[in-house]
């Protein structure tokens, strides 16, 4: 009896340790906190080029994360990239003339959307469109332009 009792206790501890390890992995290692953000509102923005932007990339304002990219698709008429942003519900007073740009974190890092607040009193609501946008900086284009201007300047 004593034997089976201690067996049960150690098995219980083993199962608890395994579940605790999974829990630690979920809470400490992964981005579990970001999964409960479904309720916010969605706005769209059209960009000439999204570069390496991905679904679930961050949307930040002044460096603070205010949402995530929910979807990226191609507009069939303008052939611009249509990016749907899922904004967190607590940031519900962002002005309607806010501008959006695509930046890169570091030289080779992930791309994200940076918002710069406008001045209007009216704020963005579900389904609104951000019209002031600036496309992603594509490194090859920048280098190309730089070389081109260098070549012109040397004449």
């Amino acid at each position: 009896m004593m034997q089976s009792k201690s067996t049960e206790i150690t098995v219980g501890m083993f199962v608890a340790a395994g579940i605790a390890a999974l829990f630690v992995l979920a809470m400490k290692v992964s981005n579990l906190g970001d999964l409960t953000e479904e309720k916010g509102y969605q706005v769209t923005a059209e960009f000439g080029n999204v570069g390496g932007l991905k679904v679930r990339s961050a949307v930040t304002m002044a460096g603070v994360r205010v949402g995530r990219v929910a979807d990226i698709s191609l507009d069939p008429k303008t052939f611009d990239a249509k990016v749907t942003l899922n904004m967190y519900p607590q940031f519900n007073n962002i002005p309607i003339d806010t501008s959006a740009s695509i930046y890169t974190a570091g030289l080779l890092g992930e791309q994200y959307i940076g918002l710069v607040a406008g001045a209007e009193d009216e704020s963005l609501k579900n389904g609104d469109v951000i019209t002031l946008t600036q496309p992603a900086l594509v490194l090859e284009q920048v280098i190309g332009q730089f070389l081109y201007s260098k070549a012109e300047g040397s004449d």
Partner: protein, 259 residues
């Protein structure tokens, strides 16, 4: 000449027959699993000998694998000035690959070989046929509890392995090499996805647990009832498990991450 062809044919037929027996065995095991919930103490006994006794091995190996990942990753990343990404590297390699795979390989060596030897010895000392004589189904009474315990233990062991490995990577990265701890954790949390990475790792380890326990139990049950046969079966368990784990890992990785 004709004898060679004949022996080749016999070998082929024998392998297919074995494969068929293994699948009949799997079905019989699965059929025995539901009845276990009435006598769960059998499973707990096996969870102890399969799972609990493997914890120490998993803890120590996980810690060292994580520490090595920390060191190696740092040396590579520091060349690019990206040593802050060490956390991502350690966590992704552990939860996606090394956690499930290495713990399954260790599990096959530690628990799988023991299972085969145990069942094989039971067979060679005719304990299994003795049970049949007493109208006790050895598959339900002996095999199924071990099978279920293996499937339950494996994901738990893999999770412990990954968690300890991340800790080991952190100890080396932060304590020894001086990577900023805030960057270590925040980059890790930003890039590791709960479903994409951790759940897929758990699915992998469940599959590995099923396959390793299946191979181990079948090899034991199908072993020649001699001491030499049991020894061979034990070797085969470890070898086939390793093949199965690594092969399946490729297939699962291609399915999960190979978009």
């Amino acid at each position: 000449m004709i004898n060679y062809i004949r022996s080749l044919g016999r070998w082929g037929l024998g392998s297919f027959e074995r494969l068929g027996r293994a699948h009949i065995f799997l079905v019989a095991m699965l059929a025995g699993v539901p009845g276990l919930f009435l006598r769960f103490s059998l499973v707990i006994q096996q969870l102890f000998s399969i799972g609990v006794l493997s914890v120490m091995l998993i803890l120590i190996s996980g810690l060292f694998v994580g520490m090595v990942l920390g060191l190696q990753g740092y040396n590579t990343l520091v060349d690019f000035g990206a040593e802050e990404s060490l956390g991502v590297m350690v966590s992704l390699s552990l939860v996606r690959e090394l956690g499930p795979v290495v713990s399954a390989l260790l599990f096959a060596g530690r628990a799988g070989s023991a299972l085969t030897a145990e069942i094989g010895l039971m067979k060679s000392t005719e304990q299994l046929s003795g049970m049949e004589m007493m109208a006790v189904d050895p598959i339900k009474r002996i095999i199924a509890p071990r099978f279920l315990a293996g499937i339950i233990s494996m994901p738990l062991l893999a999770a412990i392995f990954s968690a300890v490995g991340v800790l080991g990577g952190f100890l080396v990265g932060h304590g020894l090499l001086g990577v900023d701890d805030g960057a270590f954790w925040s980059q890790m949390q930003a890039k590791t996805d709960l479903f994409e990475d951790i759940f897929n790792g758990v699915i992998k380890s469940v599959v590995f647990g099923l396959v390793v326990t299946w191979i181990a139990l079948f090899e034991g049950y199908d072993a020649m009832p001699t001491s030499e046969g049991v020894g061979r079966a034990t070797t085969r368990t470890v070898v086939h498990s390793a093949f199965a784990i690594l092969g399946l890992d490729f297939v699962l990785t291609a399915l999960m991450f190979g978009d």
